[in-house]
């Protein structure tokens, strides 16, 4: 039996490795290409690590697009959107988990249906509302999706997490005279901390990488977020590829770091 599973797992390694490498190749090319010295003719062969390594490309990119301002703006949006998302998603997930079957199933169905709607289908509709309210060119339309928890998926995730907690805990809380808000705050939330970390990180990734909404709502370059700055970079200077790739790397690092944190802290625990 042992040799059987060893051989099987060696096969899995052998097959999985090329795919994992393949998946990482675009990212490797992004970082490698960003370090190629400007002014040199493009590489004639595939090179992962250029020589000489031009770290100054990053400084130059940061200058070209006023990176500090861009990152500050993205951070402001994230600081507003992420905590609000966690609050709304956990409140809603908790409330649905305490409701009787019929209303709960209705809300879950509505959430699933809402999940299936692509953002691009909502572009024109949402824009007209915000334009009518006169809040285009502000961060309000960028933070507003926090009201559906950034994504109804996070409401569902919290619902599942709270459902897995023993019902007796909340019975006891009710008997102690806890309001639902108290039960959420003092019983529910402390017990689902890993979920909160995961949802906050995922919501941060979405907020940070969000491109379509800033694109249609923001006109003042002073308000631009990092993805919009990247696009300006691509429009300004499409020929200096290393700078584009440096910008892409800078934009990716926070999202990738956040993911790796979640992966270690949370996904590993649930076996992913």
């Amino acid at each position: 039996m042992r040799s059987c599973t060893d051989r099987a797992s060696r096969w899995r390694h052998a097959l999985a490795l090329p795919f994992a490498v393949l998946a990482l190749l675009p990212l490797a090319m992004m970082v490698g290409g960003s370090l190629r010295q400007l002014g040199l003719p493009p590489p004639r062969t595939l090179e992962l690590v250029p020589a000489p390594v031009a770290w100054e490309n990053y400084a130059q990119t940061a200058d070209l697009v006023n990176l500090g301002r861009l990152m500050l703006n993205s951070l402001i949006v994230a600081v507003l959107a992420v905590p609000l998302s966690v609050l709304v998603a956990s409140w809603a997930g908790f409330a649905i988990s305490r409701l009787p079957a019929r209303p709960a199933r209705l809300l879950l169905g509505v959430s699933l249906a809402a999940l299936m709607i692509p953002l691009t289908a909502m572009l024109v509709g949402r824009f007209s509302i915000f334009a009518w309210l006169g809040v285009t060119d502000t961060y309000l339309p960028l933070v507003a999706p926090a009201l559906i928890g950034t994504s109804p998926l996070y409401v569902l995730i919290y619902y599942w997490a709270f459902r897995r907690l023993p019902g007796e805990l909340f019975e006891a809380a009710r008997l102690e005279g806890f309001s639902p808000f108290d039960a959420w705050r003092r019983v529910g939330m402390p017990l689902v901390r890993p979920v909160t970390v995961a949802v906050a990180t995922l919501a941060f990734g979405i907020s940070w990488g969000s491109f379509i909404e800033p694109l249609i709502y923001l006109f003042d370059p002073e308000l631009y977020t990092v993805p919009l700055g990247l696009r300006s970079l691509a429009l300004l200077d499409p020929t200096r590829v290393p700078l584009l790739l440096a910008g892409a790397t800078i934009a990716t690092i926070p999202a990738a770091a956040a993911f790796l944190i979640v992966q270690r802290a949370f996904l590993r625990d649930i076996g992913l």
Binding site: R12, V88, P118, T249
Partner: protein, 293 residues
């Protein structure tokens, strides 16, 4: 069982989410339907035009191209992505040394911001100096003109969509893990080979999740083409090789300021999506019935 105060408390907790659902999904949906009957450019007041927008869409060659491009993309990319997610999930669902590193690697491209991902592919698909054509050339294979040849451009978009299967991959793993291990032990004692096991155990059990994944991917594919079409190809190469439905909506609404027209196109896009998913559902039912009998 429910005291009034408790019910009030729960409703209060739900209130922000309900407001969000109504304000960010319900009302925009209604606005979209209403606006499709008007002509509106944000500057002048809206002008009622009835079904004219839809009539214009019916005759708009660019819109036809957008519908065809989106359908073609769905037909190509969704099965390939699903196959990739399924295949990789079967490979990597068991806990083993290094598995979580492999899984992280496969998921990582999904985490890259869309705009950064598009910029990477501007470089990768460069016909003269990009790594893909350099590699193809080194192997003696033809090097497509990704930015100038319409067919190559569309395949380029399909290609870049094949790397972001991370979410489907994780869902497939979760679905695979739900299948009771005893069934596989039983199959082993019956000396069933890998293909028979796959056909009679794995596939039927995973079928519902795979259908949901496919449906979600169809919907999602109507979004993921937008940033590449905008930043890499700008809807081209001419005439409209990478003009997909979301790009058409964006261009008509936000660049040409024809919001009523874009709203009409959005409605058509929504109906097309529902039709595709309904078709998928019927195919999936037919297949699962065949598998189980």
């Amino acid at each position: 069982m429910f005291r009034d105060a408790e019910r009030r408390g729960l409703v209060l907790l739900l209130l922000p989410y309900l407001l969000g659902l109504i304000g960010l999904i319900g009302i925009p949906a209604v606005f979209t339907v209403v606006m499709s009957l008007f002509q509106y450019d944000l500057l002048r007041p809206p002008a009622f035009v009835g079904l004219d927008n839809f009539g214009e869409l019916a005759g708009d060659r660019i819109f036809h191209a957008a519908v065809l491009n989106s359908l073609a993309f769905v037909l190509l990319a969704v099965p390939l992505r699903l196959l990739g997610a399924l295949g990789l999930s079967l490979l990597l669902h068991k806990p083993m040394r290094g598995a979580s590193a492999y899984r992280a690697a496969i998921y990582l491209p999904t985490v890259v911001p869309e705009i950064a991902y598009a910029l990477i592919w501007i470089w990768l698909l460069n016909p003269l100096y990009g790594p893909i054509n350099l590699a193809l050339g080194a192997l003696g294979l033809p090097t497509p003109r990704w930015f100038t040849d319409p067919v190559a451009a569309r395949w380029g978009v399909v290609l870049l969509s094949l790397f972001t299967i991370g979410e489907g991959f994780l869902v497939a793993i979760a679905a695979r893990r739900l299948i009771p291990g005893e069934l596989y032990e039983l199959a082993a004692t019956e000396r069933a080979g890998p293909f028979a096991t796959f056909r009679h155990i794995t596939l039927p059990f995973m079928a519902p999740s795979l259908f949901l994944l496919a449906a979600r991917d169809v919907i999602f594919s109507l979004q993921l083409t937008f940033v590449p079409a905008l930043t890499i190809f700008n809807g081209g190469p001419p005439p409209n090789a990478t003009t997909y439905l979301p790009f058409f909506i964006y261009r008509n609404g936000f660049e040409y300021l024809r919001y009523g027209y874009a709203a009409a196109a959005t409605l058509v896009m929504f109906l097309v999506t529902v039709a595709i998913i309904a078709l998928q559902y019927r195919i999936a039912r037919r297949w699962t019935d065949a598998l189980l009998h």
